[in-house]
Symmetry: C2
């Protein structure tokens, strides 16, 4: 009787019971969720050549945690890089037995008397996160996913951990990511280094590698031509790190995350100038960074303390300073917050562009905002951002902006509209759409920025946690191939509730909302995106150089290769593997 | 087939359907709810001496709408009044047939060449409102009443309408209220006047009345000794009148309501210095009249615009200026609002007296508040109000107040507590409780105010819409009889959703939350309360006069009569009818 009672208690205590013991928002080490997929059995693991193996793999593969990996290379891995470029590699460790205290070390890289210091090298244990899949019809990843059981879920390698020592369990694969940031001042030549794995209960194993630094220099990210716009979410950071919004602890938490963005060439600061600009679609909704009070006498008071602090932080401490994108004048829910002195409550004006109340709410604000921005010296860097709405609404919003200050910059991430594109300093249009050539040329002459975006819509290319790693690089290359000035993604750290363990969200395919993890931790997706962005800069450099030289042949070859990175170009290649396409592009860029 | 369809549509359209046609918040004429109680049938109505009758009734009776009233007097009604006093009378009109356009007129009142002008006379059609009853055990009216069906409901005469012309339906009773405000400068003597009812389809009927003005003067309400404290709810007015809070229209709506209070001798301005001081117990919760912002740097900003505007209105336009009661430092829900600059949201600090956060929230505010009040010249008139809480909590709150400014006045409406009474400038204790005589005397010497309150607790005396009209006067007389300085009721216009038609609320017996109706319309309860308050002032005047004269006999007689107006005194009278008690007191006060 007694035993049965105990058993029933155990049965009653399901996953929820045990998950209480899991730290809510880990920043250090953490337990991954269980991989419940079919996987290699003991008999497969028993066939290993040695109890522990360590080989070079490829950055194109998300190695499965419970399968014996397809990796053989133990000889020197050869990489090529420009001066100032970051290059990636992936090694794989797998084992029949538990490995205690596995740890990576990398020697300095030597080329005779020249050295790339070990500090230029990052190594990460690759960690596994829960993902889902495309919509059942393969059409993309949009839509609501409240019931996770409706989508096939699995654990995928994506997180690049910052934890230095790991216990590797018997019959598991532990990939290792290697990233070398070649100093801009490195002497060209072949640098040799070694990646070592060591631990308490197994003999250290070494993998040699070589980086051939070619005699070309990649500009520093701050000088990149490519216009990168990955939207930041400060509110997610405050929640996950459990720190007060805009406190020193909050900025301390954000600094390394935002520096990762700056190092990827990020150009825009994401600022929210109203409550829930996207109707709270992210786990952590954006609040207004600007306080508005409607006084009893009907006048308005604005306070920019939070906005200023955020912008100053991004500009002065992080180094992202080209554009302050202010969201939004046409939100999805046409409801605008203000603090009402009379009721001592936050109230919402429901008004559509074209309404008198809309013009008053925004017109009064924008005049004061323009005054404030000029005072701060930011007016030229600030853009009032709109979301996609019916044409008339957008035209009415533009009217209100122009009437507040005709010199206000305006942005839109939405469809291409002939009627208003001329008013848009910055226009990002969806993947698969193009700017008419003469419009693009005219926009360039006027100093207007024209980019492309992807979101949940695209089955390919995308950066879901289950997307092929090369798709991230492919996406960046597509932006240049398609004649755009850059790339936009609406979220880079809009974390779901438990982003390190589970990348699924209540809407969209998993990973749609972020590619930087708390810690901060990079990801396979983010590293491969930076790879693509570097390729873009290389293309800009080479084009300039080849044009100056009149090297038409090489230029043609480069552009022909690049043209594969478009929907039409890709079809012409018979849908070649994106991994191969990127590999070929990398090689071409390094040999030109 | 077609007819059946129509019928089913009609059936589907129940009360909700028809009620849509009812104006939501009427200010002018309106339809009463249906009286569904058993009532006099046609055969009773057919026995009327004439098709239409008009007689004097009594102010002690709520005449039933559908019953033939017990009223016979058509000869002169004789009233007595002091100069400056308001006197009430009630007439009853009842009819076998529909009366079209019934209308009241009153002549000027004449005493030889002396005149009380018609402008000093108010007449009101008495209107019917839905009420409920005491708790089933007769213990009072406290508790939740979500399910109205659990209490017996009926229509009662209470509202004194401002509509001048009424259609009176066949076989109904239409009472008429008469109020004469004898001018303070009226010459003593007997004034004769006539109350006339006329209409389109019946002959005018007249009722003569006479007011004997005695040679004593009742002071003007602003000079009354009695400390009256009926809590005002500006938020209910804004909602019912559908006007923006604190707008000109809002103040225009409040002015006549608050003047009714001023004319009743109201002394205190009800101010809310935090969000929902009583946890939103009224249909319209009180918001904070003071804006607090916690800035990013941790400092606090306060804005007193609303508070100032409300207080200035009450003082300068209404004439209520003795005390600003600021609710509350110990609310029932220990949750304190502020606008948080970081999150751009209203946030709540949960903290109890004694907590560091409590002391910081209130201490910081009270220091700034004291500074502001001194600037306005209001510091001496302002009291920080507490609600009943455990002794330690009250002591901690007092500590915080005293440490912010030791001269801050403090009030409590709650039980008598020896330990803290000395700190309380104003202390109102529940009906049935008494201040120890020496404490009361000491409080008087110190200029501290000591009053009594009733609320839902009392089955008698009370001012529910079903309470006997005389109980209102009785309550006021009790305050003097019990040796208190005045009377407090926690609500005078905290209207339920449809106050003109339905006085029931989701909590407490009907009418508990208000005695002034929208319009504003007075009520039988409010007029009878003013009657009692006038009696109190007469007692103060007479006591002073008799003491000065050394008229011990008369003084003794007066005090003996007054002593009946206490729980013990009433029992000694064998629970005499309160109506008779008040009537006897009125007579005594007029003949002394």
């Amino acid at each position: 009787m007694k035993k049965m009672l105990i058993l029933s208690v155990l049965l009653a205590c399901g996953p929820a019971c045990f998950s209480q013991q899991v730290e809510k928002f880990p920043l250090g080490d953490y337990e991954e969720l269980t991989d419940t997929k079919p996987h290699d059995g003991v008999e497969v693991w028993n066939k290993m050549k040695a109890p522990v193996q360590f080989c070079w793999g490829t950055t194109d593969v998300r190695y499965k945690k419970l399968d014996v990996p397809d990796a053989k290379q133990t000889g020197t891995l050869r990489l090529k890089a420009w001066k100032g470029e970051r290059v990636n590699a992936q090694a794989v460790l797998w084992t029949q037995k538990d490995l205690e205290g596995a740890e990576m070390t990398v020697s300095e890289l030597k080329n005779g008397s020249s050295v790339i210091p070990a500090s230029a090298v990052r190594t990460h244990f690759v960690r596994y996160v829960m993902t889902d899949e495309l919509n059942k019809d393969g059409s993309g990843g949009c839509g609501v996913r409240e019931n996770k059981a409706e989508w096939d879920s699995s654990m995928v390698a994506d997180v690049l951990d910052i934890v230095r020592v790991r216990e590797v369990k018997a019959r598991t694969t532990q990939p290792v990511w290697l990233n070398v940031w070649v100093p801009a001042e490195a002497r060209p030549g072949k640098y040799k280094g070694t990646l070592t794995v060591s631990g308490k209960n197994f003999e250290a194993m070494k993998l040699p590698f070589e980086i051939e630094v070619v005699n070309r220099t990649l500009p520093a990210p701050k000088d990149w031509v490519f216009h990168l716009d990955l939207w930041q979410n400060p509110y997610a950071v405050a929640r996950y790190y459990q720190v007060p919004l805009w406190s020193k602890a909050h900025f301390d938490a954000m600094r390394p995350i935002m520096k990762m963005l700056a190092d990827a060439g990020q150009r825009s600061i994401t600022a929210s100038i109203m409550e829930k600009p996207w109707a709270g679609q992210t786990e952590d909704p954006y609040h207004s960074m600007i306080f508005r009070m409607k006084k009893l006498d009907g006048t308005w008071v604005y306070d920019y303390t939070v906005f200023d602090k955020w912008v100053e932080f991004m500009m002065n401490e992080v180094g992202i300073k080209d554009l302050i994108s202010c969201y939004t004048m046409i939100p999805w829910a046409l409801s605008f917050d203000y603090f009402d002195q009379a009721t001592n409550q936050v109230q919402f004006i429901k008004a559509a562009p074209g309404d008198k109340a809309y013009a008053e709410y925004w017109g009064t604000f924008l005049k004061d905002f323009a005054r404030h921005l000029r005072e701060k010296g930011w007016f030229e860097k600030t853009a009032i951002s709109m979301d996609e709405r019916p044409m008339e609404a957008m035209q009415e919003a533009i009217k209100v902006i122009k009437s507040a200050d005709p010199e206000f910059k305006i942005t839109l991430a939405g469809n291409y509209h002939e009627e208003i594109q001329g008013d848009l300093y910055y226009l990002s249009i969806p993947y698969g759409n193009q700017f008419p050539a003469e419009v693009k040329a005219e926009r360039e002459r006027k100093g207007q920025i024209s980019t492309v975006y992807t979101c949940c819509t695209e089955a390919f290319p995308n950066t879901f946690t289950f997307s092929a790693p090369a798709e991230a690089a492919w996406t960046a290359l597509h932006a240049v191939a398609g004649g755009y000035d850059g790339y936009l993604r609406w979220a880079v750290n809009s974390w779901p509730i438990d982003p390190l363990r589970d990348s699924r969200f209540r809407t969209w395919a998993a990973g749609d909302t972020y590619s930087i993890y708390p810690g901060p931790r990079s990801s396979i997706r983010f590293e491969r995106l930076v790879e693509g962005l570097q390729d873009c800069e290389k293309i800009y450099v080479l084009r300039k150089e080849l044009e100056a030289k009149g090297a038409t042949g090489k230029l043609k070859k480069l552009n022909a290769k690049l043209s594969e990175f478009t929907p039409e170009g890709w079809i012409k290649t018979n849908k070649k593997s994106p991994a191969l396409m990127v590999k070929e592009m990398n090689a071409l860029l390094n040999e030109m």
